[in-house]
């Protein structure tokens, strides 16, 4: 492998305090596929301070070449400074494709990079396919999740942000070898941004949850959220809610699922007393298995459900809890 190269597929490695965000590994998985189809190298770029060790990790997940910018001026994320570095790297190496996780950080950073490079950027993709002409088709939900748009880009690099948990991360392979290219970020210019620290941490990370039991306006009182919490914990999951319960002040926004809240993709999503508005569906449609409990058989949520129970959640949920407790108890006894 030569020390300089052009025209690869580049993946942005996002991390917080040196912990790589799993979406970056997922993108390396997809990036590998695309790079192989196009017959080019898979690259990754990592910015931070004291993150050298993580560069190797990116190789284990499939990168042929990692551009490492390890420098004190990059210790905290500064969108303008990071943009400078990435723009310079892209101009030097001319990647064909540049993928960034569609996390809040990625969705703030990628557009600045794209605008500086005068290139196209597709937002929040849920699929990337190379068609028979070797063109990259980027598929993304739009109109609050009501449609899927297929998008092509006529400039290079083709840039896209990609949603968390829609691609499969490859297996970590410590026998893989790649090149880590240590780069210097250049002079740290004043950007006008000063990071003053974390104000508060989220109470729950719904994006990572495997099981979510969510409640909506079918709940009569705030206290009844406990019922759903109990069901959630019996299923090994966490509580979620529709927006109106947040607006009522019943619970923190951290628990909100939907267009103006969290996008989630658990293995199991149980919607209790949720009608299934487009804004709610936009946040949970990608769940592996969807269960709906609703008193109204015509509620739209049933149209996306794998399993549904038509009934009063105040009867159905306690029965479910009872049954699950019996099963748990049984498995302990037996």
């Amino acid at each position: 492998m030569s020390t300089s190269a052009k025209g690869g597929v580049l993946v942005y490695a996002e991390h917080e305090n040196g912990v790589i965000h799993p979406v970056s590994f997922e993108l390396l998985g997809k990036g590998r596929e695309i790079a192989d189809r196009l017959g080019v190298e898979l690259w990754s770029v990592l910015l931070g301070h004291r993150v050298k060790r993580q560069a190797e990790e990116l190789v284990y997940y499939g990168a042929d070449r990692v551009f490492l910018y390890d420098h004190p001026t990059l210790e905290v994320f500064d969108v303008v400074r990071y943009k400078h570095v990435l723009v310079k790297l892209v101009r030097e190496t001319e990647p064909l494709v540049f993928l960034v996780g569609a996390t809040p950080l990625g969705r703030s950073l990628a557009p600045r990079v794209a605008a500086a490079l005068n290139t196209g950027l597709t937002a929040d993709c849920i699929d990337l396919q190379v068609d028979k002409d070797g063109e990259l088709i980027q598929i993304r939900p739009a109109f609050t999740g009501n449609i899927l748009a297929h998008i092509k880009t006529r400039s290079r690099p083709i840039m896209a942000t990609v949603r968390y948990r829609v691609m499969k991360a490859p297996k970590r392979d410590t026998s893989r070898r790649g090149v880590v290219v240590e780069k210097r970020p250049g002079e740290a210019l004043e950007t006008g941004l000063r990071f003053l620290g974390k104000v508060s941490a989220r109470r729950v990370n719904l994006a990572d949850a495997d099981v979510i039991v969510a409640g909506g306006r079918g709940l009569k009182r705030k206290e009844d959220l406990k019922l759903l919490e109990e069901l959630a914990s019996l299923l090994g999951g966490v509580l979620g809610v529709s927006r109106p319960l947040v607006d009522e002040g019943w619970i923190s926004k951290d628990y909100q699922v939907g267009f103006s809240g969290n996008t989630v993709k658990p293995r199991l999503y149980v919607a209790c007393g949720i009608s299934g508005s487009p804004q709610h569906l936009a946040g949970m449609r990608g769940s592996d298995v969807i269960v709906a409990i609703n008193i109204d058989p015509s509620a739209p949520i049933f149209r996306v459900a794998d399993y549904g129970v038509v009934g009063d959640l105040y009867e159905v949920v306690p029965k479910l809890i009872e049954a699950l407790k019996r099963i748990k108890g049984g498995s302990v006894d037996g």
């Binding site: 290139t119 929040d124 939900p141 109109f143 880009t153 941004l193 996306v304 129970v309």
Partner: protein, 258 residues
């Protein structure tokens, strides 16, 4: 302050055959997130003085959203409308908006919505900031302090972070930052008579390259539209006495219950 007019997404229909969005099928409204952005700007004005200018790029009908913004406290409204702006992706949209802002002259703060309910990319704000060479903070859920040359904001990126930003700057705001006011009848009537300035591509010619507007300046192309399919969903509905038992059985088969 930047606003976009969007179709009512509960009503809008899509033609899957032609892959078109049938915008005539639904009434137009102001992007909900932009009402929060406008409220943010108007509150800052009420506290600190200054003027709020709203800019929207869109078809002539977008004028109604600008009038609504005037009723809600904006002082000046500019509609960017021209066939040559049409078909723009976020790159061309942001370039055109940035060019218009350059023509306006000096400003302290640009406020955008977090994203729109139609295009839904959330890219226009950061891209405008880049074209203008100013810093930005996305997902702002609280403005803590403002002084003449800086602003202190909280950004909701899952966890919440505090940033100090030197002005001029751009922020994009979430729906949680405030509750937009309802305009009074008097304000609505006054806004009806107010002037909405209209700028076309030629009027921006001295401030940017017109070849970067509209379709010509766009690098992404929507080639096809599909409706998300629920085909893979089982759609098994249980009713009556044994519904819960049957659900338990199904969850066991799926491996969620031992």
């Amino acid at each position: 302050m930047l606003i976009k007019q969007v179709p009512d997404i509960e009503k809008v229909r899509f033609d899957v055959e032609t892959g078109r969005v049938d915008r005539s099928s639904a009434p137009a409204e102001t992007n909900p997130f932009d009402l929060n952005a406008l409220e943010t700007a108007v509150r800052l004005k009420e506290k600190l003085g200054g003027r709020v200018t709203v800019i929207s790029m869109g078809p002539p009908q977008a004028e109604s959203s600008l009038r609504d913004a005037l009723a809600r406290g904006a002082d000046r409204a500019i509609l960017l409308t021209d066939k040559r702006f049409a078909g723009a992706d976020t790159l061309a949209t942001s370039y055109t908006l940035a060019t218009a802002i350059r023509k306006l002259g000096s400003f302290d703060l640009i406020v955008c919505g977090e994203k729109t309910v139609d295009g839904d990319t959330g890219q226009v704000g950061p891209e405008v900031a880049e074209h203008l060479g100013i810093p930005h903070v996305a997902y702002v859920c609280e403005v803590r302090e403002v002084s003449e040359d800086r602003i202190l904001v909280v950004s909701d990126m899952g966890d919440k972070y505090l940033f100090e930003v030197t002005l001029p700057a751009l922020i994009t705001v979430t729906k949680d930052i405030n509750t937009p006011r309802i305009p009074t009848l008097r304000d609505v009537l006054k806004a009806r008579r107010a002037k909405v300035e209209v700028w076309d591509a030629d009027s921006l010619a001295g401030y940017g390259e017109t070849c970067r507007f509209g379709l010509q300046g766009s690098m992404t192309l929507v080639t096809r539209i599909t409706i998300p399919s629920e085909e893979g969903r089982r759609g098994i509905i249980f009713r009556g006495e044994d519904a819960v038992e049957r659900l338990i059985e199904a969850l066991r088969k799926e491996g969620f219950i031992p």
